[in-house]
């Protein structure tokens, strides 16, 4: 019990602090920046606990919550991106809803951290729900117009549906293993008859469907454009990042490692899902004019690229070019965090009630009015396209070279499909760059707003460029995670 508490101390602390904020919020009067600062302090406190206490614990590999390198990485990333999201929220006009807003944000971070260390089905589900449930609140409190209501309702119902599918899948796994521990489920291999009982296949499909919603994979991707469009830039960033990162961590833990006996099924399932997801995302992305809608399709497409890594990881292919499949997913997630949060932070910094930034044309002439923000935006978009010398380039190299060396012809074909998709995506990313650099500004030019959001832009720029110029340390470190099978 104490071991589990030590392993999950930072997220437990965050949950406690968030609850305190909910309570204190009922006594607060009027707007106050204290909520912004106290959530930063809470994240800092969690980081300190993580570094001083949790990192020193060494729970057994079969414990409820583990503190392996993947878990620590996931928690650090959740805290860092959580901080970025808090900073991006500063500009929001929340009035008296600030305590609920920031507390819910902290819960999302806590949920992501639970998922990162979860070694047990119930804890995993709990973590995922701790991301979803506060998201409903967040969607509701930030925008109360019709579009915002629609987006909150849509997300709520579909998310509940996906959670039910996921939970149903877990029940099959439990039925087969008689245990909720991932280690025990992985060791089923020796006890299973051949061929694998169909109940496990049902479990696989349901689990992947449930997680497919979180990562916005085909065919459960279709909520994303509507929901992103109907909410604010900051929350679109949150939805494009937190559930997706947690979903991929869960896929790595659950599908890549806990179901070795289904490896060939997983690889086929991922092959189809990856090809469909990236193609749907990119092709529909071509048609968009609303920025958040476009970025929603972009985030769908990137989920498709990362699914390639999950499939290769399940195959357990060799890792000699750079990274194994699962390790390249981890690498991709870091690059994805930097470029996606960066893009949204630019939008947050630009938008103001007088001059909302909703469509691509709203960015016209940005290179003249805000040259530095335009440059940062162009960098993120080139990184999303996968042009050297950005983080996105190495992320694509890592993913697709792992597919090339998997030794499976159909994964080589998938790599070709993926690369062609990257070329297709360049069309809509370039459209934004072209509008920023090659059109005249419209309307009055205002200085960029929110300073905290500008800090996020700067940090994301630094990460994108640092990984772009010197990916070595990052790659070595991903290999050091030891996620090869």
């Amino acid at each position: 019990m104490l071991h589990t508490l030590q392993a999950t101390a930072p997220e437990v602390l965050l949950v406690l602090l968030a609850s305190a904020m909910y309570l204190a919020g009922t006594f607060a009067k009027g707007p106050c920046r204290c909520w912004f600062w106290s959530s930063i302090a809470a994240l800092g406190l969690a980081a300190v606990v993580l570094a001083t206490w949790t990192m020193n614990s060494a729970p057994a590999a079969s414990a409820t919550a583990v503190v392996d390198s993947l878990a620590v990485w996931g928690k650090v990333l959740a805290l860092a991106t959580g901080l970025a999201l808090v900073l991006m929220s500063d500009a929001m006009s929340l009035d008296n809803r600030a305590p609920e807003y920031f507390a819910s944000l902290l819960l999302v971070v806590a949920g992501s951290m639970f998922v990162a260390g979860a070694n047990e089905l119930v804890l995993l589900f709990l973590g995922l729900e701790l991301i979803s449930v506060p998201s409903y609140v967040l969607l509701y409190v930030t925008r109360r117009d019709v579009a915002g209501q629609e987006s909150a309702a849509k997300y709520f119902f579909l998310s509940i549906f996906a959670s039910a599918l996921f939970l149903y899948g877990l029940s099959f796994l439990y039925g087969a293993a008689g245990n909720t521990n991932l280690q025990a489920i992985a060791q089923l291999e020796s006890k299973l008859p051949y061929p694998v009982p169909p109940s496990l296949l049902v479990a696989l499909v349901l689990v992947v469907a449930g997680l497919g919603f979180k990562i916005a994979a085909f065919p459960l991707h279709f909520y994303a454009p509507d929901v992103y469009q109907g909410t604010t830039h900051t929350l679109a960033a949150l939805l494009a990042w937190a559930p997706k990162a947690a979903g991929f961590l869960a896929l790595v833990r659950l599908v890549t490692f806990a179901m070795p006996y289904l490896a060939d099924k997983v690889s086929w399932l991922m092959l189809v899902l990856a090809a469909a997801t990236m193609t749907v995302g990119n092709v529909l992305g071509l048609l968009q004019t609303n920025l958040r809608r476009l970025l929603a399709y972009s985030s769908i497409a990137h989920a498709g690229y990362m699914l390639v890594g999950i499939g290769v990881g399940a195959l357990g292919g060799s890792r000699y070019i750079t990274t194994s499949g699962a390790e390249s997913v981890v690498f991709y997630l870091v690059a994805y965090a930097a470029m996606t949060l960066g893009v949204f932070a630019v939008l947050v910094a630009l938008a103001s009630p007088q001059r909302p930034v909703e469509t691509i044309d709203d960015l016209a002439g940005l290179a003249r009015s805000h040259p530095r923000l335009a440059l940062a935006m162009a960098l993120f978009l080139f990184s999303l396209t996968g042009i050297p010398i950005t983080a996105g380039f190495w992320a694509k190299v890592a993913i697709f070279s792992s597919a090339l060396v998997s030794g499976q012809d159909h994964y080589i074909t998938l790599a070709i499909v993926g690369m062609l998709n990257a070329a297709v995506s360049s069309y809509y990313y370039l459209r934004i760059i072209a509008v920023m650099y090659m059109h005249e500004p419209y309307g009055a030019v205002e200085p960029a707003g929110s300073r905290p959001a500008l800090c996020v832009v700067a940090a994301c720029t630094a990460v994108t460029l640092a990984i772009g110029f010197a990916p070595g340390p990052m790659l070595d470190w991903c290999v050091g995670l030891g996620l090869g099978r």
């Binding site: 000699y320 070019i321 750079t322 080139f382 396209t385 996968g386 042009i387 050297p388 010398i389 380039f393 190299v397 697709f400 070279s401 090339l404 060396v405 080589i412 790599a415 070709i416 690369m419 062609l420 990257a422 070329a423 297709v424 360049s426 069309y427 370039l430 459209r431 072209a434 650099y437 090659m438 010197a470 990916p471 070595g472 790659l475 070595d476 290999v479």
Partner: protein, 517 residues
């Protein structure tokens, strides 16, 4: 000495940084800094060329730093006979590009010159890279500066042109990346089978030791070709080119035609021919057919153009056909050596003459704001210096003996004649067509009664000192290559012969027989 090449590659980036940081929106300071940077780079590459050891086949002046530790990717640059003259060409045309932009670019000069300099580093990097990934990084990186140069400083249809250029080129090169990664993986597999798994991205090492089965070569060849054929451009993948050329600012056209198209042919030589000899033989006929179609199609289309810039753009499609034809003249070792050296020289020649022609078209446009052939005539009387240079580069372009174009085309057709006569003969027909459309252009535009868009346009003057400074060195080099081609050919030959030996039919047959066991 070795560091001079590194300095040459990095000088333009340093120049770009100085332009951005130091010139504070002062257009003149930006121009002068850019000129100084390109001149310094030119000086460095000339030092490199003088110090180049003509007898050596391996890369010289190598700088090799590990870049991605465990993955074995290096920042490795060096120079062999294949890349030598392309590097010098790049630095020479970059000076021209700065000079022709002097007065044409008033808008956002700092960003303009910084991008031009970044582009120069990108191109030098492509030709000097000794690491596959580094090559690809530079290869893709060249897209970004040119995208902005066309899209921001280009003509009325610049946005479409910039995006079409970028997306078209990118769609091919993503497949090239897969092909390149596959080569590395295959070499690892090959060495692992011998008990000594080696992960290397080094181009010289892979070139020396890689042995792929011919079936795999076939697929990798296709993947690599996807990117390079679009870049060249090989007919029918040329449709992005005329649009990009017409809309690009003058300097963009000079660089695009002069250097960037050669990245495609260089890629064919460095990777397709050197690494995939068996597949190269299999693809001889298809590639040669496309090249020949490109030669004739480009020439006929050029003939029909009413816009000078568009005419020169289509002539590039035709001329690059000769470069491809020369590369794939795969006969005996000697024949292949002749063909490839001829093709390499033709790349340099085309860069010089077409680059200069684009510069001249830009100078005309600055004076008359039109590129319509119909509205110009008899300019030789009004602008004798401009006419002189136009005629010189036209003659160089159509291959007049004594000028550079002749040597390259002659070697290419000679080599191809030994391998497949028909292609060579059709290629020769293309030369006649080329002479026809270029000389016809000269006749209509420079001779006959004076015709200007606005009658009695007295403000129009002949070339000034700056413009002559941009063109005269190119003309001198054209003459130099034409009169003493051996200085240039002898430095290429050892490196080219090494590739040709790997391409020898007997050698590839052994490789194929080896597979079938």
């Amino acid at each position: 000495m070795d560091f001079v090449l590194l300095v040459a590659v990095l000088l333009p980036v340093a120049g770009a940084a100085v332009v951005m940081l130091a010139s504070h929106g002062d257009a003149h300071a930006a121009r002068r800094t850019a000129l100084a940077a390109t001149l310094a780079t030119l000086a460095a590459t000339v030092i490199v060329a003088v110090g180049f050891d003509a007898t050596e086949t391996a890369s010289q002046m190598v700088t090799d730093w590990p870049w991605l530790g465990s993955a074995g990717i290096h920042f490795a640059i060096g120079l062999d006979g294949i890349a030598l003259w392309l590097v010098v060409l790049t630095s020479l045309l970059s000076v021209t590009a700065v000079l022709v932009s002097w007065r044409a670019v008033e808008e956002r000069p700092r960003a303009y010159y910084a991008l031009l300099l970044l582009l120069e580093t990108g191109m030098l990097g492509v030709f000097t890279a000794l690491d596959i990934i580094l090559f690809y990084v530079f290869f893709e990186f060249t897209l970004i500066p040119l995208f902005f140069l066309i899209g921001v400083w280009g003509g009325p249809d610049r946005r479409l042109a910039a995006r079409k250029f970028f997306i078209y080129t990118l769609s091919g090169s993503v497949l090239t990346l897969l092909g390149l990664l596959y080569i590395v993986a295959a070499y690892h597999e090959q060495t692992a089978a011998l008990g000594k798994p080696t992960l290397t991205f080094s181009i010289p090492e892979l070139t020396a030791n890689l042995h792929l089965s011919s079936a795999k070569q076939w697929w990798v060849f296709l993947a690599l070709t996807a990117g390079f054929a679009i870049k060249v451009p090989l007919w029918p993948f040329h449709t992005w080119l005329p649009l990009a050329h017409v809309e690009a600012p003058t300097a963009g056209s000079v660089i695009l035609a002069g250097v960037l198209l050669k990245i495609g042919t260089y890629g064919f030589l460095r990777f397709n021919l050197a690494l995939l000899p068996a597949a190269s033989h299999e693809f001889l006929a298809p590639i040669a057919v496309l090249a020949v179609i490109g030669i004739v199609y480009g020439a006929l289309t050029a003939l029909a153009q009413s816009d000078i810039k568009r005419l020169v753009a289509y002539s590039s499609v035709s001329h690059l056909g000769y470069c491809m034809l020369g590369l794939f003249a795969l006969g005996s070792v000697d024949t292949a050596t002749v063909g490839i050296t001829g093709s390499l020289l033709q790349m340099v020649n085309h860069g010089l003459s077409t680059g200069a022609l684009f510069a001249l078209v830009g100078m005309l446009y600055e004076r008359y704001h039109t590129r319509e052939i119909r509205s110009l005539g008899g300019l030789a009387r009004k602008m004798p210096v401009l006419a002189f240079f136009f005629v010189v580069f036209t003659l160089s372009s159509i291959g007049l003996p004594g000028l550079n174009g002749f040597v390259g085309e002659f070697l290419v057709l000679l080599a191809m004649f030994e391998v497949r006569k028909a292609y060579s003969i059709i290629g020769a027909v293309g030369i006649i067509l080329g002479a026809f459309y270029m000389l016809w252009l000269v006749q209509r535009m420079l001779f006959g009664p004076l015709k200007e868009p606005h009658d009695g346009d007295d403000a129009v003057r002949d070339l000034d000192g700056r413009e002559i400074a941009a063109l005269a060195p190119i003309a001198a080099v054209c003459l130099w290559i034409g009169l003493c081609p051996n200085i240039f050919l002898s430095r290429m030959e050892p490196a080219v012969r090494q590739v040709a030996e790997r391409l020898e039919p007997a050698a590839t047959r052994v490789a194929i027989a080896h597979d079938s066991h």
